[in-house]
Symmetry: C2
């Protein structure tokens, strides 16, 4: 018996390799132009245009025109969540990328997962926050402790502002490379922002990697590591 929304159209959108590459690129959280996405997918601009209109029609991405460019981004964090979930299943099922890119080690070490930190250092931060007793997790379930309510404002994070957002304040996100949890949600996003602001790290321009400076990494560790 048929019930529920049909997932075939949505899945089919993500099921084409070219489109999948585009979506993966957009998982960086950045808005990209049609041409950039075409390069990302390794196809011509014409073909990309067709794919992009399908993705937009399907509600997975949204495009805004700016001058003669057209910038695309994922239409929401639910799409990003879905894509990460799919990557998780893919990783478990052994569908690893056949040709790991040159940036692969960096990407495993630290990368953005839509708008928060993932990879080894993401997991490290999650563990560190737990050890400090400022967050408490049980299974999938993460909460800010009373201790945390004092801790985060001292880092320059205003929890009351974050709580106003409709998205969950904190949640865990299973890391495909580490098979461990890292911190997602608006708190995760705010922490990554702080890392940028402090100058500890910057985004790689061509991948999802987050590049820590030597001093940034040691400060990061002194704050979170064992």
């Amino acid at each position: 018996m048929k019930d529920g929304p049909s997932l075939a159209p949505i899945a089919a959108l993500a099921g084409d390799p070219a489109r999948a590459n585009m979506l993966t690129a957009l998982l960086s959280g950045k808005a990209l132009t049609a041409t950039e996405l075409a390069n990302e997918a390794g196809i011509t601009a014409q073909t990309a245009s067709s794919h992009l209109s399908k993705l937009e029609g399907g509600g997975l991405i949204a495009g805004v025109k700016q001058g003669r460019h057209r910038y695309f981004r994922l239409s929401g964090s639910d799409v990003a969540d879905m894509l990460e979930k799919m990557m998780g299943v893919a990783a478990r099922a052994g569908h690893l990328r056949t040709r790991p890119g040159p940036s692969d080690p960096q990407v495993r070490k630290a990368r953005v997962c839509y708008d928060h930190l993932a990879g080894e250092m993401g997991v490290e931060m999650f563990d560190g926050l737990s050890r400090l007793g400022v967050i408490a997790s049980r299974g999938d379930d993460v909460k800010i402790t009373r201790k945390g309510e004092a801790f985060f404002p001292k880092m320059g994070i205003d929890l009351s502002v974050l709580a106003q957002s409709r998205r969950p304040l904190c949640k865990s996100c299973l890391d495909w490379s580490q098979r461990r949890s890292h911190l997602a949600g608006s708190l995760g996003a705010a922490l990554l922002d702080r890392i940028y602001d402090e100058g500890w790290a910057m985004r790689d321009r061509k991948s999802r990697a987050v590049l820590f400076s030597r001093s940034g990494e040691s400060k990061f560790r002194s704050m979170f590591a064992a």
Copy 2:
């Protein structure tokens, strides 16, 4: 730049209408035979066989031989999670099923979401548990309260047993029909089991609907409703 596991193969598996129907059927949590799945998808046995071997090869489902039947089930709750996420995105993007089945109202009212209760009554239960103060949720984040640690054992649910499972004890799951949260995780599954055990409801044989008896529904409401 390519990074991460490639989602295209996984998505493509779910992207075919016939396979999507099979997966949706398996979302009921029941194991189904190849022939049942063929009927579900509206295709011949030969075609179904080909699809099923692809799904199995892709790691989305697992099959076991029993006599001359072969039973298939989803390979894990992560796959179920992924499918529900996709339905959520599909619902938001307006990809509703063109031809709602006859069981649709029942399915909207109460259905299984892999192994826990979803639909109107699922949301009702979630709200009721919150109002009773036995669970506390903030965004995506759900916890059992101290009050809950006394409450659930009285219902015949042993929390320490549930905690041993590797899956999260409780988490919320966004309902595609209600756009509200209901309770997933091993606690959600245990609650649905209790509902069956008490004789309040039984599974519909042909759909994901959960059929409450008149008295079962009133007992359910007296327990959870406002």
